[in-house]
């Protein structure tokens, strides 16, 4: 018998993240490395722990190997209790057939049994691909106080940005009267963060109704939330004013990494407070050589650096040779940059090798037409041969053996 948990969190981690291209070829988006030692999923998982949520389900579907292995028994997040902790929930075969998760709501619907084991009052539904620190207990407190069926976290965005988001229009008391998905002329600037608190008895009812509706696409944003609003359920916005970033694209992933280097951006990963936990590699401290010059960068354990580094984020075990120059770039675990190579505005995935004097990416200033420019991405394990160059905005998933790409 599982002890009752007031709150169960469900993290949606099944999406392919196709806009991240080669980075998500072999792993789900929430497993993409972030911030020099983390994976994206560390943020929602750690937020749960720091908010006192002890029962967490992670819904996996696309390329789950790395993610499942990474989460393991949940020990790095203190989520390895006997009757509580984290559980990876993949689609499974049932009496009436075998189904993939057909949408975000369907993924939760298929795991009603998991949620019911804990007999919760609240279910928090989270995305596995956002970078932010948030205390969900404050949001749950508001949810209780307003006696809501559903509370949706919102963040203030600029008028220009608003048309890229799902916008919530609210009454003065914070109750929601309208959803607008990517409106051309937004009425407000409250963007949904994809963080929902539901009263479980309500959510269960709507999930079941949604599953019975053959026309539904089984999606929270498109189907379940509008159904609740139309039925007159109490739905409230919860205003969040910290740092939050959806890292679903190459540009936003690059931006969010660079935000960690900017002291004016309000996300702080240092110190003991609301720590972001992760599975740590077994590697010696980083060694900085005689010829190294490091400016405004983040560097993790196991790195050996003898080159120049500016505005860059280095994950564990990255090797930078003598005279190599890395600027405005992200180098994922085990990447190797040999002597004299140059990397600018690039993301180099795990274990990729950039040989001597190769050149990857370019500065935006060099382009009159900015549309031709973009962050260059080198896929996992790709080898860029000596002296070769890779153009900005390129996305490379096979070895570069000669000339320019």
């Amino acid at each position: 018998m599982y002890p009752k948990q007031k709150t169960v969190a469900m993290i949606l981690a099944g999406g392919q993240g196709s806009r991240l291209g080669v980075l998500t070829r072999k792993l789900a988006k929430p497993a993409v490395p972030f911030g020099g030692k983390y994976r994206i999923i560390d943020f929602p998982l750690s937020n749960c722990v720091n908010s006192g949520i002890k029962a967490v389900g992670v819904l996996t579907q696309y390329q789950p190997l790395v993610l499942n292995e990474y989460i393991g028994n949940g020990q790095p997040w203190d989520l390895d209790g006997t009757y509580e902790g984290v559980t990876c929930l993949s689609p499974y075969q049932q009496m009436d057939g075998a189904y993939w998760y057909s949408g975000t709501a369907n993924a939760i619907y298929r795991n009603i049994n998991f949620i019911e084991r804990y007999d919760p009052e609240y279910v928090v539904v989270l995305s596995g691909d956002h970078i932010y620190k948030m205390d969900y207990s404050k949001m749950i407190k508001q949810h209780k106080k307003t006696n809501a069926a559903c509370t949706i976290a919102v963040i203030e965005v600029s008028k220009e940005e608003a048309s890229r988001f799902g916008i919530l229009n609210t009454n003065p008391d914070g109750s929601i009267y309208e959803f607008e998905e990517k409106p051309a002329h937004p009425k407000s600037t409250n963007a949904s963060m994809g963080i929902y608190v539901f009263s479980w008895n309500k959510l269960r009812k709507y999930l079941e109704a949604d599953a019975a509706d053959e026309k539904s696409s089984n999606d929270f944003g498109k189907d379940v939330l509008p159904a609740m609003l139309n039925a007159g359920e109490r739905m409230f916005a919860y205003a969040f004013d910290g740092y939050w970033k959806d890292v679903g694209t190459i540009d936003s992933l690059w931006d969010a990494n660079m935000d960690l280097l900017n002291p004016n951006v309000p996300i702080d990963l240092s110190g003991e407070k609301d720590k972001i936990y992760s599975r740590n590699p077994v590697m010696h401290p980083q060694y900085i050589g005689e010829n190294a010059n490091i400016q405004n960068s983040l560097v993790a354990d196991g790195c050996e650096i003898d080159g120049n580094l500016e505005f860059s984020v280095l994950f564990p075990g990255v090797k930078i040779g003598t005279g190599a120059t890395i600027t405005d770039s992200i180098l994922m675990p085990g990447a190797v940059v040999e002597d004299g190579a140059t990397i600018e505005y690039s993301i180099i995935a795990e274990n990729a090798v950039i040989r001597k004097n190769a050149h990857v990416g370019a500065k935006p200033e060099e382009f009159d037409n900015r549309d031709e420019w973009g962050v260059a991405v080198i896929g996992e394990g790709v080898n860029v041969a000596e002296g070769c160059s890779v153009a900005p905005k390129a996305m490379i998933d096979t070895d570069v053996t000669g000339g320019n790409q």
């Binding site: 740590n280 010696h284 900085i288 354990d301």
Partner: protein, 371 residues
């Protein structure tokens, strides 16, 4: 794979030789190399060599060691069968706190008795090395030895004080042990790892206790070398032996050499440690770091050269740190200048302070001191 060897680690012997660093901790938990404790090397070597049932004998000052070792999870030693056990004094009634190894083993006789292993590997924890014990275990079985003693013969120019040196025949059988005031390079010197048979060890310890012979170096190995089959096992990899503050300083600094790092840290036999979830280290604009080993969670705004910087250290703007060992969470203020300093944990060096030791005499700052 688990083998037939029980590991027994002396967590605090020779504490008197590195007094400053061990005033509030056991030798086993002396910080090393920016993110390790000395015990990490012995524990990792044992677990990598299939020794999966390990006792750590401690007599005092073991709070930080208990905190570090915990359940043994970090070394994959949190196990249903075996695992790591901290063995403090008085775990058996009537057998208290002796100062010698013989008394210590006598006090934990019950632990030996209850274990299923046939052999016991006795280790001190002042040796920093990546050692595969498997060939030693194999040699012990092949030679049907009573004692197999690990030795090195490549001491550095400083030599080694109060060493146990040994002479062997062509089959590596030890003919004579001698305690020398200062061993030189080329001499075969024991390095604190002895493999023996559990039943024999228990018998020897009981005899020693009843006859009040308490020094295993002198009273067992040296005086009874003819009685037992003692063999030497040669270790010829990279190592540092730490039994003084100067040796501690040099051993840390030796990690700045690439070949030493490669010998000590490798992917197939990793050195495990308890990891704190620190963020990656951050280098500010205007920082300058050369030839240094930096752990995670540091914020470096100043200059660092030829130094070992542990996790969570802050180096302020304009500060100059050279040839130093700075331990975890110590803060070096803006424009402070430090040379040849060993700063223990949580030290605060205020802005503009200057402190210099010397190559042969690094200055030690105890933990939590404010300068």
């Amino acid at each position: 794979m688990k083998n037939n060897v029980l590991g027994l680690v002396f967590g605090n012997n020779h504490a008197d030789r590195i007094e400053s660093l061990t005033s509030h901790r056991a030798v086993a938990s002396v910080p090393f190399g920016g993110k390790y404790r000395l015990i990490d090397f012995t524990l990792s070597n044992m677990t990598n060599s299939g020794v999966r049932n390990i006792g750590i004998i401690v007599n005092k000052n073991f709070f930080s060691l208990m905190d570090h070792v915990g359940s043994g999870k970090s070394w994959d030693l949190s196990r249903k069968n075996g695992g790591v056990h901290l063995l403090p004094p008085y775990i058996q009634s009537g057998r208290g706190m002796g100062s010698s190894e013989i008394e210590a083993i006598y006090a934990i006789e019950r632990f030996l008795h209850d274990s299923n292993e046939e052999y016991v590997l006795l280790c001190e924890c002042g040796m920093v090395a990546n050692i595969d014990f498997e060939p030693m275990i194999q040699q012990h079985a092949d030679t049907e030895a009573d004692f197999t003693v690990m030795y090195v013969n490549n001491l550095d120019s400083e030599g080694r004080k109060d060493a146990l040196s040994m002479k062997m025949n062509s089959e590596n059988r030890v003919e004579e042990f001698s305690i020398v005031p200062c061993a030189k390079s080329g001499e075969n010197v024991t390095v604190g790892a002895i493999l023996t048979n559990k039943k024999l060890l228990m018998k020897v310890v009981e005899e020693c206790i009843s006859t009040n012979k308490l020094n295993y170096m002198k009273d067992v190995l040296q005086s009874e070398v003819q009685k037992y089959r003692c063999f030497g096992y040669h270790f010829n990899g990279y190592y540092s032996l730490i039994s003084s503050q100067e040796e501690y300083f040099y051993a840390n600094m030796s990690l700045l050499k690439k070949e030493n790092r490669q010998a000590l840290f490798n992917d197939t036999k990793p050195i495990y440690t308890k990891v704190r979830d620190d963020m990656p280290s951050r280098y500010g604009l205007g920082s300058s770091v050369k030839n240094s080993l930096i752990a995670q969670g540091c914020i470096i705004e100043g200059e660092v050269e030829n130094s070992i910087i542990a996790k969570g250290v802050t180096i302020g703007k304009g500060a100059k740190v050279s040839n130093c060992i700075i331990m975890q969470d110590t803060k070096v203020g803006d424009n402070a200048t430090l040379g040849y300093v060993i700063a223990d944990k949580d030290v605060v060096i205020k802005d503009n302070r200057t402190l210099f030791g010397y190559d042969t005499f690094p200055i030690y700052i105890p933990s939590e001191k404010v300068l």
